[in-house]
């Protein structure tokens, strides 16, 4: 029983990391009908910007001088700003130019952008972080070794205590983000506008909804969610690589597809289902770790074939 509970808890934690990225996919797809394939890379970009900021704050001695909670909030704010900026740049240069084109085009464009983001992290993380640390802290500068080496991510959410504290915070933060998102999407004018665009963009335009502004706000909110997602993943893994975004994004996208690409609740269900499949296969099948990802992706393919609208997505019928 204890073994099963261990596995369930592991699956919930893993599911949280998948869910937030899946929500990013759902938000963008819901409002723009576009798969922004670099969501995972944007999240990892946020994590690395937080890591760079942490190194600089550490060089300045702020990590020990300021209350931990304040530092965490400051780091999160920095990560959010970077992710929002990257999200808006993604929209401006990788999606907007293809508004009138086939949906395949922004998909290809964001896949290529994901590669660019990964390589920029790998190439620029070390010189940018070390250069900035030298400028602001001089002789006290703390340096990172290389952007392509695995980086140690500070487990700030342990709050100086055990990893149990960190894990509970990860789940709690995920739940709070989901509730806030639910409130925003269902109880605010902007959220309702976004849902309206998601359902019928042309009609939304006719009713006076500012679609362009809604799309920009979607990227701002998506940036916030992805930054928090990257931060939680960093705290959970504690070791991060510049190319983590690739697999992280694929898992998040798969979760969104399984749950229902337009549906936020579907993203949660999809993320959890994928995580549970992976963990339970690893846990109960002999030598199951080797097959966990394969079986998880088989589940995705089965959903695409038999329930393409996802677990709680709505079936759409196109009249001709």
């Amino acid at each position: 029983m204890e073994y099963l509970l261990d596995l369930i808890w592991s699956a919930v934690l893993l599911g949280c990391t998948y869910t937030l990225v899946a929500i990013g996919f759902s938000l963008f797809f819901g409002v723009m009908d576009v798969v922004v394939f670099c969501c995972g890379d944007i999240a990892i970009f946020g994590a690395f910007s937080i890591l760079a900021s942490y190194t600089i704050l550490n060089s300045l001695g702020i990590m020990t001088a300021w209350p931990l909670l304040l530092v965490i909030l400051l780091l999160l704010l920095i990560g959010i700003i970077f992710c929002m900026a990257l999200g808006l740049l993604t929209h401006r240069f990788s999606i907007k130019p293809f508004e009138k084109s086939s949906a395949l085009m922004p998909l290809l464009s964001t896949i290529a952008l994901g590669t660019v983001i990964r390589e920029v992290i790998g190439l620029m993380f070390m010189p940018a972080t070390n250069g900035l640390a030298d400028v602001v802290a001089g002789e006290n500068a703390i340096h990172v070794v290389s952007g392509r080496n695995p980086q140690s991510f500070p487990s700030l959410l342990s709050l100086g205590g055990s990893t149990d504290t960190r894990n509970i915070i990860i789940v709690a933060v995920t739940v709070v983000i989901l509730l806030l998102l639910f409130f925003f999407l269902n109880k605010t004018k902007m959220g309702l506008s976004m849902q309206a665009i998601s359902q019928n963009k042309e009609l939304s335009l006719m009713t006076g909804i500012n679609v362009s502004r809604s799309i920009v706000i979607t990227f701002v909110i998506g940036g916030v969610v992805l930054a928090i997602s990257g931060f939680l993943l960093g705290n959970y893994q504690t070791i991060m690589s510049f190319d983590n975004g690739s697999m992280f994004g694929i898992k998040g996208f798969s979760a969104a597809v399984v749950g229902g690409l337009r549906n936020t609740w579907g993203a949660i269900l999809g993320g959890m289902l994928l995580a549970f499949v992976e963990v339970m296969v690893s846990g109960y099948v002999p030598n199951g770790s080797a097959y966990a990802s394969i079986i998880a992706f088989v589940v995705v393919v089965v959903f695409i074939i038999f329930k393409p609208e996802g677990i709680i997505g709505e079936k759409t019928v196109e009249k001709v």
Binding site: D6, K100, M105, S109, V116, G122, Q151, E278, A290, S293
Partner: protein, 404 residues
């Protein structure tokens, strides 16, 4: 601006070009590599290592050591030509290694190559070198079958094999320390599979069977299910047959799950400074076999350490850094035997018949190109640092590994 597909295609191609520009920056040229050199006065050697990626710590230090030996040789004036390096960052990836190997063998000035820390890339590139009949001396990849009768005499190796390393490790953890309840974790790479087979054989030879084993994907980062499985298996010891990225995460996640009363033993691929990034407490007690001898225990080792540190490299010496240096010495020795105009053909014979005294003693090669100079020793993490096991508090009984 993007009203038609032409502009879309232009943009996509431009984005891909930018991406390839970044990913394609995998070739570096050694300090001695100068454009426009006279072909008669230049001899080139290819060098392969994972200079970026998860294994970069080991690869970069090896590159430094190899370069150091070549620079010393050029400065010595003993060679009537300039020795240039073509340094290829194989990124620990088969396809990149093969592309690099094709690039190296296509250069008419190349007479030999040395390389590889990862067994997969070494195996993949070996075929290219064998076909081109250019000798490849492996300095760091340990899968047993990389040197074999088919590849001989073109492929040789100066480092010990996985069997030789695991045998030394098994003698301590199975025979001396007496652990019998094992759980094996390896990765799906050639390196991981080789270690899984070899360590399983060590257990079988002693009449033991592992309580469980897991093969994890090379890009896996979440091992919570594996940790739960280890916990549930009742294992007293974990053998990790993988490289530093997976080994460090597994050790960390075991620690975080409270699985600390257990021996964590592994193979040389995890003995890099990167393993210590998980923190002193999480890394504590990790026991790993390393090739060669402890550099601090011999004059030659201390001299190498001093020379490396004086050269000002920022990357610390790793388990295979001395082997990269020794590989350079072996190739330099072979070059000396080939006279003023070495050729790949002459180098093949010169390498297999060479007798080179380096940091770890004298290296010669057996009938399949494997070094006859085999030495290993154990390291353990104590207070956040790798140290020689025999000098540690674990060896004198002050600390214990757990699981006993």
């Amino acid at each position: 601006m993007f009203k038609n597909s032409k502009w879309f295609l232009v943009t996509v191609v431009a984005l891909i070009a930018v991406a390839l520009l970044f990913t394609g920056c995998n070739q570096q040229t050694g300090e001695t590599d100068e454009e426009g050199g006279n072909a008669a006065s230049v001899v080139k050697i290819g060098f392969f290592a994972p200079i970026t990626g998860g294994d970069a710590a080991e690869g970069t230090a090896a590159r430094n050591a190899f370069q150091m030996a070549i620079d010393e040789a050029n400065a010595s004036g003993e060679y009537p030509y300039t020795i240039e390096l073509i340094i290829i960052d194989d990124q620990g990836t088969d396809s990149v290694a093969v592309a690099g190997a094709n690039q190296v063998v296509a250069d008419p000035d190349v007479v030999a190559a040395s390389g590889f820390w990862n067994s997969g890339p070494a195996a993949a590139a070996s075929a290219v070198f064998k076909e081109a009949e250019i000798p490849l001396l492996i300095w760091g990849a340990i899968r047993d079958d990389l040197t074999n009768a088919d590849n001989y005499p073109y492929i040789t190796r100066s480092a010990p094999t996985a069997s030789q390393e695991n045998s030394a490790s098994a003698a301590v953890v199975l025979d001396d320390l007496g652990y019998t309840d094992w759980f094996i974790v390896s990765d799906a790479s050639d390196y991981g599979q080789g270690n899984l087979e070899v360590f399983t054989k060590e257990l079988t030879d002693r009449g033991l069977t592992a309580l469980g084993s897991e093969v994890v994907q090379e890009d896996a980062t979440d091992f919570s299910a594996v940790v739960a499985k280890i916990k549930n298996s009742g294992a007293k010891a974990v053998y990790c047959g993988s490289t530093v990225e997976i080994a460090s995460l597994l050790k960390l996640q075991l620690y975080e799950a409270g699985v600390t009363d257990i021996l964590f033993a592994g193979i040389s691929g995890m003995k890099t400074p990167d393993f210590l990034k998980i923190g002193a407490e999480a890394a504590e007690g990790a026991l790993v076999v390393s090739p060669g001898v402890d550099l601090e225990s011999t004059d030659a080792g201390r001299a190498f350490t001093e020379a490396y540190n004086n050269a000002g490299y920022s990357e610390p010496i790793g388990a295979y850094t001395p082997y990269a240096y020794e590989a350079a010495l072996i190739l330099l020795n072979a070059l000396s035997a080939c006279g003023d105009a070495p050729t790949p053909e002459a180098m093949v014979d010169a390498i297999i018949n060479s007798e080179t005294t380096g940091i770890f003693g004298t290296t010669t090669f057996d009938e399949i190109g494997q070094t006859t100079n085999v030495a290993t020793y154990l390291n353990v993490v104590q207070d956040g640092q790798w140290m020689n096991y025999v000098n540690s508090e674990y060896a004198n009984g002050t600390r214990s590994f757990g699981g006993k």
